[in-house]
């Protein structure tokens, strides 16, 4: 663990900074470390090619949900469909869902498709559901 990361975690643990601030600092630290790879130097304003980092699922209302899934986990996670029991796959295929297609899906292709993903749902019981990538 790097010294900076350790310091941030310590500040969160001591209550010096909020977990949200800690999260932001860790993200900045990660993006700073990845800069040479992404070559994201210079401020070009709204960059459509900026790498996606997280898929967020947020529910506000009676139910509170806040899930942040790293894109890398999704990229790897699509392979998890191969671990699904055969009976479950057959059951889904009866309903027209073919999970085998996920195996042929390229991880980068999926991430690019997720770039424009935006789901907003206002449910009848007052919950607001938002799914988006950031």
């Amino acid at each position: 663990m790097s010294r900076e990361r350790e310091k941030i975690l310590k500040m969160v643990a001591e209550g010096t900074i909020t977990p949200e601030d800690g999260e932001r600092l860790l993200s900045q630290l990660d993006s700073g470390a990845k800069k040479p790879l992404g070559e994201s130097t210079g401020d070009s304003g709204d960059r459509p090619s900026a790498p996606l980092k997280y898929l967020r699922v947020v529910v506000d209302g009676n139910d509170k949900v806040n899930v942040r899934v790293p894109i890398g986990l999704i990229r790897t996670g699509i392979k998890l469909t191969t671990l699904m029991p055969l009976s479950a796959s057959e059951h889904l295929s009866e309903h027209g869902i073919d999970l085998a297609q996920f195996n042929n899906l390229d991880g980068e292709e999926l991430v690019e498709a997720l770039r424009d993903l935006k789901v907003d749902v206002d449910s009848e019981d007052g919950d607001v559901i938002r799914v988006f990538c950031e």
Binding site: V12, A13, E23, Y54, K79, L83
Partner: protein
């Protein structure tokens, strides 16, 4: 990237005190499992692929955070860092 710690605690301005779970202790296990998967590649390729996929998912857990609510309506966050 592989997670170092899993923090479990109550999110908010007074996030006290997050319980750190030393996930890095599992790193040798991951390496061991990847070795086992390599050995299993020839006799049992399907099982080896499953094991490898599980390990890859573990390696990508850093950054995952999940907020849930307890029965007493208190938020609890599970956060891999």
């Amino acid at each position: 990237m592989m997670p170092v710690l899993a923090l479990v605690g109550l999110p908010g301005p007074r996030w006290l005190p997050p319980v750190p779970l030393p996930v890095f202790l599992l790193w040798p296990l991951v390496l061991f499992c990847l070795g086992v998967a390599k050995l299993m590649d020839r006799p049992r390729p399907a099982e080896a692929a499953k094991l490898r996929t599980f390990m890859r998912v573990f390696c990508e857990l850093r950054g995952l955070s999940i907020d849930v609510e307890t029965a007493h309506r208190r938020p609890v966050r599970l956060w891999f860092v």
